[in-house]
């Protein structure tokens, strides 16, 4: 039992840290330090730098550009990016679709898609959820009917994050309407320029445009873009969702936010003319989050250690803990940031939009913080809602 990172890992962390310090564009860093998402171009530029370094696709096999890292290194890498903060490799490409193609795809598919994915030559988005299939993903209704060497796809996807940027979409579609729910589903890759695709923005409650509806109207997808076997797409989906959950702890990101929160609450003058960190209740709440985050960090380590040694693909009981606690902590951070801003959190406007704080009501650090709090309520809903996680724990791990 060795409960510390070893020297190689510590050296690796330093290497990542140095690389970020040297290579991350100042503009990108400052924008993210202020709590805003990087722009599309910033994400693309950074991923290409990472790709040039050989670090863009930590989860992929070495032959397709993966760096051959241990799970520990992957964790360190992500944590350092998150807490820098720096953009992460685009999840749709590198964590979701890429690993699926690498695992289930044909050699041709790998050659065609993976290098462009890694270099973010193509921006991918995820076509899973539907209006009637949220928590119950397998209830999806989008139909794909094979006609010659094409599938003709009809249906509607929703909550499609950053579809407005996307060149390609990976889709779950129903290819056998008579099979049982989770059977009869297939995994397709689809060029967003294909006729019949319409993207409609969904504006979320804080005013931001991050997610979309994607309408598919007689969209022709070549049969060669089927990943894995027809009607076995659920295997791809499960494989992908397993990877996703693993990253939902986002310890580094929360640490970065707590750091920002404490910076604000230690310097800005608040009620009674004192910094808010002097308020015992506020300080207690921040401290409780710090404690939970430390515990979560150790839980992530445990999951990594377990997974590293496991042969089967069955996830650790602790992975649902990562999702539940990870999102609770992030939501609490967003709430405390909003509270720190007091009335200045209330100015309306998408904090991501350019020039949105031109009115100069709130200090820059406070602008849009209520919006972020509103927006982050999604975290306990998406990626398998926290209620679904509890179902999983009760059934799969507790046997109830």
């Amino acid at each position: 039992m060795e409960l510390r990172f070893n020297e190689a890992e510590i050296a690796f962390r330093q290497e990542v840290r140095d690389f970020i310090a040297k290579e991350l564009p100042k503009e990108t860093h400052e924008r993210m330090l202020a709590g805003k998402s990087p722009t599309k171009q910033m994400v693309v530029d950074w991923q290409r730098k990472l790709n040039a370094k050989g670090w863009a696709v930590p989860e992929w096999p070495v032959e397709w550009g993966g760096p051959g890292w241990t799970l520990g290194q992957r964790y360190i890498f992500r944590e350092e990016l998150q807490q820098a903060p720096a953009p992460q490799p685009l999840a749709f490409n590198t964590n979701m679709c890429g690993p699926v193609i690498a695992e289930f795809g044909t050699e041709e598919q790998k050659k065609r898609f993976l290098p462009r994915m890694a270099n973010l030559d193509d921006w991918w988005c995820q076509g899973f959820s539907e209006p009637g299939a949220g928590s119950d993903l397998a209830g999806l209704k989008t139909r794909a009917v094979r006609e010659g060497d094409h599938y003709v796809v009809n249906g509607q996807k929703t909550w499609t994050t950053l579809a407005q940027h996307a060149d390609w979409i990976f889709l779950l579609v129903r290819t056998d309407p008579n099979a049982k729910k989770q059977e009869g589903i297939s995994f397709l890759l689809c060029d967003m320029k294909t006729p019949g695709i319409t993207v409609r923005p969904i504006i979320t409650i804080e005013g931001g445009h991050e997610v979309n509806e994607v309408f598919l109207d007689d969209v022709k997808v070549p049969v060669e873009n089927l990943v894995g076997e027809e009607n076995r797409g659920w295997d791809c989906a499960k494989f992908l969702l397993g990877n996703e959950r693993f990253g939902q702890a986002r310890v580094g990101a929360s640490r970065e936010r707590i750091r920002r929160l404490k910076r604000i609450a230690s310097t800005e003058s608040m009620d009674g003319g004192q910094p808010l960190m002097q308020d015992p209740d506020f300080a207690r709440k921040v401290t409780e989050i710090e404690v939970e985050l430390k515990a979560l960090e150790m839980t992530v380590m445990r999951v990594i250690a377990t997974e590293s040694k496991r042969k089967d693909k069955k996830p650790d009981p602790a992975t649902s803990v990562l999702k539940i606690k990870g999102t609770e902590i992030q939501q609490m951070c967003s709430e405390l940031l909003m509270k720190a801003a007091g009335p200045y959190a209330w100015v309306d406007g998408d904090p991501e939009a350019e020039g949105s704080n031109d009115i100069d009501v709130a200090p820059d650090w406070a602008f849009g913080l209520a919006g972020v709090y509103f927006n982050w309520r999604k975290q306990s809903i998406y990626g398998g809602s926290n209620e679904i996680q509890r179902n999983i724990m009760a059934k799969a791990f507790l046997g109830l």
Binding site: A133, D279, G342, D348, K378
Partner: protein, 381 residues
Amino acid sequence: MDFDLTEEQRLLQDSVARLLGDKYGFEQRKGYMKSPEGWSREIWAQYAELGLLGLPFAEDEGGFGGGHVETMLVAEQLGKAIALEPWIPTVVIGGGFLRAGASAELRAELVPQIAAGELMLAFAQTERQSRYDLNDVATTAKKDGSGWVISGRKGMVIHGDSAGKLVVTARTAGGQRDHKGIGVFLVDAKDPGVTRRGYRTVDGQRAAEVEFANARAEAVLGNPEDGLPLVDQVVDETIVALAAEAVGCMQVAHDMTIDYMKTRKQFDRPIGSFQALQHRAADMLVQLEQARSMSYFAAMGVEERDPAERRKNMASVKAQIGRSARFVGQQSIQLHGGIAMTVEYACGHYFKRLTVNDAMFGDADYWVRFLANSGGLVAAA
């Protein structure tokens, strides 16, 4: 102890409910929000017609003679519609200052204008550094002949952009955080010394940044050397309205959630059939009922004569309402799932108003701390 409404109160409640039912559907509300002022002059005129704008003023001054219960009833209905009009700033806050701090002459001049819907008021109190502390006032008021001139910057002045007159707190003496030496002044928004920049708040209301550069006060409200007790009183009265507004919001958010749970299907059954979600809905109801109880208590507790006791009462109201609002708001989103995260769906707007409502004049944490420091509600001896 009797929670039944009088005939008059029931009429008042029903008439507001009917108006809002007809004219304040979620789609109609969107229209009002998109208008340049961000709310509806037409609806405002109808409020006037129903007597809502003169509600708290004496009948012989042109008002409706309503008390705190009436304020509560109206505010709850407005909360159900998440109404956008400047009713609380004008009628509850502005009206409160006029009733308790203005001369009979001034009231004789202004109340009819307010009651007729011609004059809106706003409360210019918050400053960039002040947060929720009513005594933290850097804006100054200086004697100038027989009157006063105001200089300084006020922020987050709710509905400050459409107000005809501003109720402004300003320091006449002492240091920035002294309790003594704060005056309350009425300033015409068109005064050359006043500059306003309006904007929208996250819950769909309007607000303004207001700069005062030697702006002339039209009137002093209360004692210019010791106006904080007046401010405290009016804020306490405002808490009656805020609490009721929150209860209205929570009621609708809860109802929408229950309805959605009955219709939304996942795993081939209504999600309302899942016991874990049922229990969450029950917990929301517990919070809603506790909040409703405290809204009633607000209308009663604000009449306490001793200002320190009154403030403790209102602190407990803010504490419970804020805690309930947070839980009901958050869970109404969670139980809906993604749909409630979209701006096109009403539920999120109730959540947003509830969030701001909690923080208005200090959030639940602020008031729990205040109450703890004041010895609480139950005497040890």
